[in-house]
């Protein structure tokens, strides 16, 4: 057998590197992302002639629990129909018993990359609120994300914010995660291999109780913590080029601080409460998580009337000058 040429070497390496989809509906393209358990390739849906994203387990991760986990992620995504969640199109089976997930191909950038490019604070907060609304929707549908971090959030071409990678999400008992779900048994509704005692999440972003192997008992407050870390990241991100660097407003820092409190009971009870506080800041109202000083209260109350105050001040000054001139 003669030595393979460069083109053959490339084909053989591709065989080693990619799952075998056979000759069916989907054609596999380049790898566009990867996580701890899965890899994502761009693909072509031959039947509908459109690009899709195809998620697989890594070739080595073919244990029954891994397969069950990806299958479960597909079912979970299928029940979460929301503009902030990437829709799943199909769940396919591989000849080796593995599964693959076909999803909408999202074009966009990671949230951290977007904000590092210099985005005004108001826009950063609007991105945050879109994400918070998505997570609140998932909670209302009985699903905890449990791995919120910038790498799992994409901003699409039209500014839409998408929560990605629901691989370690947990379905809680009943249909509403916003109610306390402590009655659920430890592993109930969890993906295989992610039950009690297992550390779920990403260091630096996960809640303290998650780091201790308890990714269940705090319920939605776990995701409140993740959102708090995200808000902190957004507050520290640079403003637009040329704009002077400013310390994040104290009320917003108070919101992030409350959301990331060590004890779950000290955090916001749910995501809508947290989002409401951010909206209060945007609307010039008092932020509940923040204890205002009198000076802050005055500044906040007067802030919407800055132009009127300046105009009135200028008017009074001019009248005073005219009065003084006429007295002479």
């Amino acid at each position: 057998m003669k030595a393979p040429d460069d083109a053959t070497v490339a084909r053989l390496q591709r065989i080693l590197d990619t799952p075998d989809l056979g000759d069916g509906r989907y054609e596999l393209g380049e790898r566009i992302g990867e996580g701890g358990m899965g890899v994502v390739h761009v693909g072509l849906d031959r039947r509908l002639d459109r690009e899709v994203a195809i998620k697989f387990l890594r070739p080595g991760a073919l244990a029954a629990s891994d397969v069950a986990r990806l299958r479960r992620e597909a079912l979970l995504l299928a029940r979460l129909e929301h503009p902030g969640i990437v829709p799943v199109h199909d769940l396919g089976e591989l000849p080796d018993g593995g599964v693959f997930l076909v999803m909408k191909r999202v074009r966009g950038r990671g949230l951290d990359a977007v904000v590092q490019g210099g985005v005004p604070l108001g826009e950063r907060l609007r991105l945050f609120l879109q994400l918070a609304d998505t997570i609140a929707f998932a909670h209302a549908a009985g699903v905890l994300h449990r791995d919120l971090k910038p790498a799992n959030v994409m901003v699409g071409t039209f500014g839409e914010v998408l929560a990605m990678d629901w691989g370690v999400a947990r379905v809680v008992a009943g249909s509403d995660a916003t109610t306390e779900t402590r009655s659920a048994t430890p592993s109930e509704g969890s993906p295989p291999g992610t039950g009690a005692g297992t550390v779920i999440g990403t260091p630096g972003w996960m809640a303290p109780e998650q780091a201790r192997g308890d990714a269940i008992s705090s319920g939605v407050r776990m995701d409140v913590f993740g959102l708090g870390r995200m808000l902190g990241m957004l507050l520290e991100a640079p403003g637009p080029a040329g704009a002077a660097a400013r310390t994040p407003p104290a009320p917003l820092r108070s919101i992030a601080r409350r959301a990331t409190a060590e004890a779950p009971a000290d955090r916001y009870p749910d995501v809508p409460e947290m989002a409401a506080d951010v909206r209060r800041f945007l609307d010039g109202e008092r932020v509940l998580a923040h204890h205002e000083t009198p000076a802050e209260r005055v500044r906040r109350v007067l802030a919407p009337h800055t132009i009127a105050i300046v105009l009135i001040g200028a008017y009074v000054l001019v009248r005073a000058l005219l009065f003084a001139i006429n007295r002479r």
Binding site: M1, K2, A3, P4, D5, D6, A7, T8, V9, R11, L12, Q13, I15, L16, D17, D20, G22, D23, E34, V39, R58, P59, G60, A61, L94, P95, D96
Partner: protein
């Protein structure tokens, strides 16, 4: 049970064996995997003429066997592949200075190697100024994949999977661009259902992957180096 029993032992371990037969078999495996990367490296990195490169390759492996050069590999400091290339560079530099490399046929057993085939590849590589490390890695990968193909051929023949192997060759090895046959065409050509073609090809790809990993394991000293080299070939952790 492994599809390639018995599991290959590491040739890098074998060359350190006190058993002369085991040590010799280890060297044979290393020569089989590295002679062509070495030849192409000498042609491009050192600008050696084909005849000189042949003699240098023969001389290098004979010298390494005699002096135990490759056995001094320390896994914590570099990959075995890198160590071998450093030794080769040292040998080539010394040979150039001493002008001893052209003593054709002197002192060592000349190995039967397909230098004409290697020369064809060397001739196709139009890469003046290419990174020697990357070129050596690429030739190493070619050598591993060629070995894995040979292993797969043997495996398929022993288990009566010749049809599957021929399909694998047609789709994944011998095809170029648009000439790749579809599963439907293969099914018609072999008088089989398309699902059987799918199963054949899936089995062959799975076993090819296993054969490639076995090859890598045979050329590495420990688990860490195996994983590093697998990542270099597969682009991912082989866990």
């Amino acid at each position: 049970m492994s599809a390639f029993p018995p599991t290959r032992h590491s040739a890098v371990v074998a060359i350190r064996s006190q058993d002369p037969g085991e040590r010799s078999r280890g060297y044979d495996a290393i020569v089989a995997a590295y002679w062509r990367p070495a030849y192409i490296h000498l042609r491009h990195r050192w600008g050696a003429a084909p005849e000189d490169a042949r003699d240098l390759v023969q001389g290098f492996f004979a010298d390494a066997f005699e002096k135990g050069t490759l056995e001094r590999f320390e896994p914590g400091r570099a990959r075995f592949r890198t160590w071998l290339r450093v030794c080769l560079d040292g040998y080539a530099g010394h040979a150039r200075e001493a002008a001893t490399a052209l003593k054709r046929g002197g002192g060592w057993t000349r190995l039967a190697l397909d230098f004409d085939g290697a020369e064809r590849i060397a001739g196709e590589l139009q890469a003046p100024g290419a990174d020697p490390d990357e070129m050596f890695r690429r030739e190493w990968a070619r050598s591993v994949l060629e070995g894995a193909l040979a292993d797969l051929s043997t495996w398929a023949a022993e288990r009566g999977h010749d049809t599957g192997f021929r399909m694998f060759l047609a789709v994944d090895v011998e095809s170029d661009g648009g000439a790749r046959p579809t599963y439907d065409e293969l099914a018609q050509a072999h008088g089989l259902p398309v699902t059987t073609v799918t199963n054949h090809l899936h089995r062959m790809r799975r076993e090819f992957r296993r054969a490639a990993l076995e090859r890598i394991r045979a050329l590495t000293l420990d688990e860490q180096e195996f994983r590093d080299e697998a990542r270099a070939l597969l682009g991912e952790d082989p866990a």
